[in-house]
């Protein structure tokens, strides 16, 4: 098996039962595994709610380390839609030409620097840097802020190994408090100022609500983007023929991006809290327990995707759910897609071969299932074209 390959641990359960089970801090989760069931449950927000106790729909659960509600992620309709209205336009800015140009400058500069080095550890020296810098564009704050974000490392937003490490969460929370205060004192064109000026149902957002939006914007776009970038580098290192093909047929890049995101599915699953007794694929589910919508499994469902376990770089019809489905579909998807597009274009333009030296995989433990989501570290050499 290739180093860049990501296999699907859910296949057998998906075919045989349609669900999987795992425990998490004594609040077990029934994972929904089939494409159709995932879509159906994502659609049914009344029975499968997001607006539960803050932190509970996240797996591993964050109820013990967080009481701020993440917005709009942990809010159900109709209030959810009210928040989305004020956010959607901001999150579409990545489509503006000036945004894309800035992003291109950032990524080209990083790739140039990386090609000069004998060896690059992609997670920390490339993906984290790229992700942090790009996020300054989404926040519309000075580029220098990215230095602070990079200094936090990749662990600040995670609750697993460093479980209950409230010190790290506080670094982020205190930082956000300070930024909000700064923008109150001196309003500008940054994300915090926009949120401070925004109204929902004729009322200004509270500081706590703003914090809830900002935390989510930091957390939702961190590991997901880092894994998407790193996995892409690993994939292209082992598939020079795909780089060649995209170089010859750049019109395929848009398909390649969606296909890589389907294949990587950087967010494996997301929970919901069940509001009434129900069943999924014949398995009884009690009220006040949890299910998860397993995007990664749905994206390998062979009844929807031919050759589901392969990267088909020009896959034209690709109804993947890597960015979620329905109500809570990813707000950061436009930003993430632009990053992927510019990254692929820059690799095509500037980079020749990529050699992988050594690496350690990042494996998620989901009860009986073990899923590779990416790498803890991976050293490569970028060669010039």
């Amino acid at each position: 098996m290739k180093k860049s390959a990501i296999s699907c641990p859910f296949e057998k359960s998906r075919l045989e039962k349609g669900y999987g089970e795992m425990n998490d801090q004594d609040d077990p989760v029934v994972m929904v595994l089939r494409h159709k069931d995932v879509r159906k449950c994502a659609h049914n927000w009344k029975t499968f709610q997001s607006g539960a106790k803050p932190g509970r729909i996240v797996i591993p659960s964050e109820v013990n380390i967080r009481d701020v509600r993440q917005i709009p992620f942990e809010v159900d309709p109709p209030m959810h839609g009210e928040y989305r209205i004020i956010l959607e336009k901001w999150f579409k800015r990545p489509l503006e030409e000036s945004y894309e140009n800035e992003l291109r400058k950032q990524i080209e500069a990083l790739v140039e620097v990386s090609m000069v080095k004998d060896s690059v550890e992609v997670i920390n020296e490339f993906a984290l840097v790229l992700q942090s810098r790009a996020l300054t564009l989404l926040f519309n704050v000075p580029f220098s802020e990215s230095e602070t974000w990079i200094s936090w490392g990749t662990h600040v937003f995670r609750s697993e190994e460093t479980a209950l490490d409230s010190y790290k969460a506080n670094v982020l929370y205190d930082y956000i408090d300070r930024q909000i205060e700064k923008s109150i004192a001196q309003p500008g064109e940054d994300f915090y100022s926009k949120l401070l000026a925004a109204e929902v149902n004729g009322k200004k957002l509270t500081k706590k609500e703003i914090k809830g939006v900002v935390i989510l914007t930091f957390a939702g776009g961190r590991d997901t983007v880092i894994n998407a970038i790193t996995n892409s580098i690993a994939y292209f290192a082992e598939h020079p023929e795909s780089i060649e093909r995209l170089r010859r047929e750049p019109e395929l890049i848009k398909f390649a991006i969606e296909e890589l995101i389907r294949y990587f599915s950087p967010l494996t699953h997301m929970g919901r809290v069940v509001t009434e007794d129900t069943q999924i694929c014949g398995r009884a589910i009690k009220a006040d327990t949890r299910i998860s919508l397993n995007w990664a499994s749905a994206n390998r469902d062979a009844s929807v995707f031919e050759n589901a376990d392969e990267v088909v770089i020009d896959r034209k019809i690709n109804p993947h759910v890597a960015f979620g489905f329905g109500t809570h579909n990813c707000l950061g998807a436009t930003h993430a897609r632009q990053i992927m597009k510019v990254l692929v274009q820059t690799l095509i333009d500037k980079v020749g071969a990529i050699d992988i030296f050594d690496y350690e995989e990042n494996i998620e433990n989901l009860g009986e299932f073990k899923r590779k989501v990416g790498y803890k570290n991976i050293n490569v050499k970028f060669h010039k074209k």
């Binding site: 494409h35 159709k36 879509r39 159906k40 994502a42 659609h43 579409k92 848009k254 398909f255 991006i257 969606e258 929807v304 896959r315 034209k316 019809i317 690709n318 109804p319 993947h320 759910v321 960015f323 489905f325 329905g326 579909n329 998807a333 436009t334 897609r337």
Partner: protein, 102 residues
């Protein structure tokens, strides 16, 4: 050349022309409000959802099974829903009118 008319959610009617690609791409090129085409046309995002006016349904035709699946759980689905990225712009659909879904 095919002429295609979009009716946006604020009831504006805009007619555009094209002869290649898909309807989503044509709409995005012409900045039709409400058609975003986030996924680039691979049938994954449903931000290109349109309602075909019933009199033109035969010209456009029904969605494929996969497309139908993605529409199935959309909040605003109708009997004449299509994902416009899955409709090719050809002379065969000249004159159709599409209502942009909310």
């Amino acid at each position: 050349m095919a002429k295609i008319t979009f009716i946006t959610s604020d009831e504006q009617s805009i007619t555009v022309e094209g002869n290649s690609g898909n309807v989503m791409e044509l709409a995005v090129k012409n900045k039709i409000k409400g058609i975003d085409g986030n996924c680039g046309g691979v049938c994954s995002c449903a931000t290109c959802h349109v309602h075909v006016l019933p009199e033109y349904w035969d010209k456009i035709g029904a969605p494929s099974e996969l497309e139908n699946d993605m529409l199935e759980f959309d909040e605003n689905i109708s009997d004449h829903s299509r994902l416009s990225c899955q409709i090719q712009v050809t002379d065969a659909i000249d004159g159709v009118v599409l209502k942009v879904a909310k």
